[in-house]
Symmetry: C2
Subunit: 165 residues, 2 copies
């Protein structure tokens, strides 16, 4: 985690979070959210609705990434959490996603969650799949053609899961 910290997001962080998130949604190769998602909807979904939202911040105050954490299901399924992570394009290769995922696992445990589930890991996003595997997540199953990739059309997505205890 050389040179950056991970901390809770504040409302004032949103414009810089959106600058990280928006190009990723627009690119259409990893997250299902529409490429033209309204900023207001994105803020609600990413920053406000989840239980927690965090940012990775460089020593000079630059945001390098952001993630959120929430229960994956209501009621009788709320001991399993779900996270979404996005690293700024300019910060790739610095271990930001890895650090955010490790951080999220610690936070999740502290919040009482006993497992973490990713519902839609795009199979062609091999960097992400390999990283989550390295960090202890297994592929529970692969959903055929559930993601409409901007360049490749309908591609598969994995459900990935890790027990935290």
């Amino acid at each position: 985690m050389s040179g950056f910290v991970i901390r809770r997001a504040e409302r004032s962080d949103w414009p810089r979070c959106w600058a990280i998130i928006q190009p990723v949604f627009a690119k259409g190769d990893s997250y299902p959210y529409p490429g033209d998602m309204a900023e207001e909807d994105a803020r609600r979904m990413w920053l406000e609705a989840p239980l927690r939202c965090y940012v990775a911040e460089d020593a000079d105050g630059t945001l390098l990434g952001t993630y959120h954490l929430k229960p994956n299901q209501a009621g009788r399924g709320d001991h399993v959490c779900n996270c979404g992570y996005i690293t700024a394009q300019a910060a790739r290769g610095r271990g930001v996603a890895s650090a955010m995922c490790r951080h999220s696992q610690e936070e999740a445990k502290a919040l009482g969650f006993t497992a973490m589930q990713f519902n839609l890991v795009v199979a062609t996003n091999t960097t992400a799949v390999a990283l989550w595997r390295k960090l202890g997540f297994g592929i529970i199953g692969t959903l055929p053609g559930v993601f409409r990739h901007d360049q490749l059309g309908e591609v598969d997505a994995h459900i990935m899961f890790k027990r935290l205890t």
Copy 2:
């Protein structure tokens, strides 16, 4: 489908839907929603938020079951739908769930969906698992201990999926 029809739910159907739904949530063996879920929250989740909500109605006007249909993901995943079905306790064994599932597949196709996904089919709910299999759904994977069963504690749940085209 002897003796009942399936039609779009109307707002005025809600109290009778709730009378079907509430005991199932309270029982805690099939749906993750809290057993003490507020009626207002349940109405929003079951009747209002989904794209469509339907009821199965007997010839004498008795509601036998209800189901809803919605996109399972936003944006680039919104060609896959998700449904939730509940049959009234008193109407079990009449083929209501089967009829609702077949109906939902036709409705989903008419709405342009190309697949249907169930995100949390409780593994101990063997009647449901067998029925969805019979109706063409395959088990994509099994999530360990993700459902806190009222009687059995943490039990597994399946992700089930069917292409509609």
